[in-house]
Subunit: 243 residues, 2 copies
Amino acid sequence: MYTIGTLSKNTGVTRRTLDYYDEIGLVKPSSRTSGGHRLYSEDDVMRLERVLALKYMGFSLDKINAILQSSKLNWQESIQEQLDMVKREQERLKMLEQALQGVLYSIEFEEKISWPIISLIMKFYHQEPEELIQQYNHFMNEEEMRKIIECNETMSEEDIREWMKAVYDIKKHQDIDPHSDLALQLAERWLKQAEKMFDHDEQLLGNLWESLKGLEEGVVFYPMDKGVVEFLQKVSKAHGEMG
Amino acid sequence: MYTIGTLSKNTGVTRRTLDYYDEIGLVKPSSRTSGGHRLYSEDDVMRLERVLALKYMGFSLDKINAILQSSKLNWQESIQEQLDMVKREQERLKMLEQALQGVLYSIEFEEKISWPIISLIMKFYHQEPEELIQQYNHFMNEEEMRKIIECNETMSEEDIREWMKAVYDIKKHQDIDPHSDLALQLAERWLKQAEKMFDHDEQLLGNLWESLKGLEEGVVFYPMDKGVVEFLQKVSKAHGEMG
DNA sequence: TATTGAACATCACGTAACGTGTTGTTTTAT
DNA sequence: ATAAAACAACACGTTACGTGATGTTCAATA
């Protein structure tokens, strides 16, 4: 028999938590002293350990209560559900990470806080992956989309920065004469980074390009927007580069 | 000027939320009708959009309030912190995913719910990655640890299942005669899966094995425990297989 | 055995970001 | 003018406890 204090020390759970678990009937001490002090038996301790294990898994106390009095089948179902939830949450966080990174780049390269861009980035990444893919569906199939997303994830920090810089430099100079040398340089740098990004898969790059031209507004592809796409088209026309 | 209802429809934010944001002073309508109804100006809408963008980033309303009246430098710092947090959270979820998967396999292959094993798995994965790596430090360096973790992540569902089954079959028969044919078969199957797992990197497998022998208790490596390690050692001695 | 300090029980309020519901008032459409 | 819709303001509920406050019981010591 353990008092609440010793049990607390042994398990690392606070007294208040044990008090609370008693209150909601999750882990009740099986006996008390004549004076009313809680006494936990070995069985109670076991129950507590199970509760803690389920808590690590991320279940709510209500759910834990339900699970602990259900059958093996329900168990597998609950844990499977939790597993799926964890996977979805990871997907969400991956998107969020990219969005935050994008915002950081935008602040860094624009050297100011551009709210319209930040809002666009957040809206862009806030949608479900499914919706995101659908936007590009006109010119690319699912496998190609997956390739693009994948190659983005395997890019090094350094390469991502170079790519971002290439795009942001175009944004900064998007109103210069498309026939100028600087315009050509910027476009060529962009093309170089884009090819590097897609591992020189010209087919993939071509399809992406067609898709980009079709999209109307917003953050089209990473930091690229309509202005950048149009700039590249103008330079291409002026110098006869690209399809 | 928008009433609370129209603003709610336009942004998808509930009336109660706008009410609440007004109450805590996060987004206050800049004017009211003579009767006291809220009227939001374009500036108010902009403020709301910024708040929402920051909310998507995962900041608390308190933090958002603080961020919205701070300088650019603090911004970068806050977003960087948030980015780091998101990364850490992803690490945590990755561990949790593996733990849940482990629990599912244990229920599936043992065909019952084994609480001691579940508790062990959860304790094992509940520690920080740093601590986890330290447990194996005696025989492996960091790079090798990283390799092992990596190869585990790149394994297919199918391969993981095969590996799990190999280990669980040993657990089931861990008391049979080490000299028997079945024992040899089980050990050979284990070895085959282990080699496949490490892409036939004998050096790495050898070091892992040394490390496993040194560890005293608990869920040593995935579903492997001390019993499995000892079984493999006994079979090895009996048949002269492995180092 | 009396005392005293530590441990304990019980209660109450606070947390974050709203959802839900009630009551009474204002606006809008007819 | 009237009825319906929209609105303001308030209150209580939610999770899993943390942080006290107050009064009681236990264990060790004098």
